[in-house]
């Protein structure tokens, strides 16, 4: 397992929620691409965090642990039959309140990316995690993260060019 230079921040659950709920939502949204599903994900993630707090070995930060739970939840959700793919486009506008003139393309392009590529782009560009930290969250090797992130960027660039 790769070593991560993150110190465990011991915060109470309400403080963690206040601090990281937004990040958990955005990360969940990057995978699920569905606003309401991402909202549900936040609830589930924090409940699961509270339930699994005793098994949390404190080898990573609370935020990383929350994102690991979120990732597991989101991919399980996508695999489940209950997940409604048709609602993705409907809820998209609700998710992104952006300058339509300049940013509409990027949100469309992001939605076209695969869950994994979108997730990697989110973890790198928005959360600013290092390759090692992304590797810890996604359970991919650092080399794999490096390559997949490059491909995600190429893909995003391609979608942007097409539009």
């Amino acid at each position: 397992m790769n070593e991560i230079n993150i110190t465990y921040d011991e915060l109470s659950l309400p403080k963690l929620y206040e601090k990281f709920s937004s990040d958990v939502f955005k990360y969940s949204f990057s995978i699920l691409k569905h606003y309401e599903e991402a909202q549900d994900a936040v609830q589930e993630v924090f409940v699961k965090y509270a339930e699994s707090e005793h098994s949390f070995k404190k080898e990573c930060s609370s935020k990383t642990w929350l994102l690991i739970i979120a990732r597991s939840y989101c991919y399980n959700k996508i695999k489940s039959k209950n997940f409604n793919n048709e609602r993705i486009d409907d809820s998209f506008v609700q998710g992104y309140t952006i300058d339509f003139e300049t940013k509409m393309d990027i949100k469309d392009a992001l939605l076209q990316l695969s869950e994994e590529h979108n997730e990697l782009i989110h973890l790198k560009e928005y959360s600013g995690y290092s390759y090692k930290e992304i590797s810890e969250i996604t359970k991919l090797s650092v080399e794999n993260v490096k390559i997949k992130l490059f491909r995600a960027r190429q893909q995003l660039k391609k979608y942007l060019k097409d539009e």
Binding site: Q39, K107, H122
Partner: protein
């Protein structure tokens, strides 16, 4: 000509080693395509961050989560406190009762032991009392006998007891008589047998 798109991606993530960065810069100065890729990737990076930063986040308040996040109410706290207080009080009471019972049983044991010892002593006292009674009786008999002896026995008057000079005189007189009676060459037998008691006994009997 080799392009450096992969290295550009790493460079933007601050993960490209210093020696490779030099190579990249050298290449970028010559390759316009890679310079454009760098520009595109940089813009994408900025736009993606902006998109996520500007995202409107509205979170749901599920009851399950709220139960976890809300601090416990005072009412619940007081119930909890009361419960713990009662539990602790019950435990303490139980402990004291057990302790008291233990003390009582030990005291009871001590009392029984003392009672046994008391009975033993009472028996011993009875035996001693019996012995004393017997001794008293013996003593009484003895004293009775003594009294009887006192009343019946002869009290030797000091005036009747012969004086030493008289005894000595008698003695001399007897010895002189005996000497006369002793045959020549033989020992005076009477001389050897005569003691003071020989003088006393006839007088007591006589009285």
């Amino acid at each position: 000509m080799k392009h450096y798109e992969f290295e550009i991606s790493q460079f933007l993530d601050n993960e490209l080693p210093a020696d490779e960065q030099k190579k990249l810069f050298m290449h970028l100065s010559k390759c316009s395509e890679c310079a454009e890729v760098l520009s595109d990737f940089m813009k994408m990076k900025k736009d993606v961050k902006s998109v996520y930063n500007d995202m409107n986040v509205e979170l749901k308040d599920s009851s399950a989560l709220m139960n976890l996040l809300e601090p416990p109410t005072k009412k619940r706290n007081s119930y909890k406190t009361m419960f713990y207080f009662t539990a602790v009080a019950s435990l303490m009471l139980g402990f004291f009762l057990i302790l008291l019972e233990g003390n009582q049983s030990s005291l009871k044991n001590q009392y029984l032991q003392l009672q046994k010892e008391s009975l033993k002593l009472q028996n011993e006292y009875a035996v001693v009392l019996n012995e004393k009674r017997q001794l008293t009786e013996v003593n009484k008999t003895y004293f009775d006998k003594m009294n009887l002896l006192k009343t019946t026995s002869y009290r030797l008057p000091t005036t009747h007891f012969p004086k030493t000079s008289v005894i000595n005189g008698s003695y001399k007189a007897i010895t002189s008589i005996n000497k006369k009676r002793i045959p020549s060459g033989g020992m005076p037998v009477a001389f050897a047998k005569i003691t003071k008691e020989d003088f006393l006994i006839p007088q007591i009997i006589g009285n």
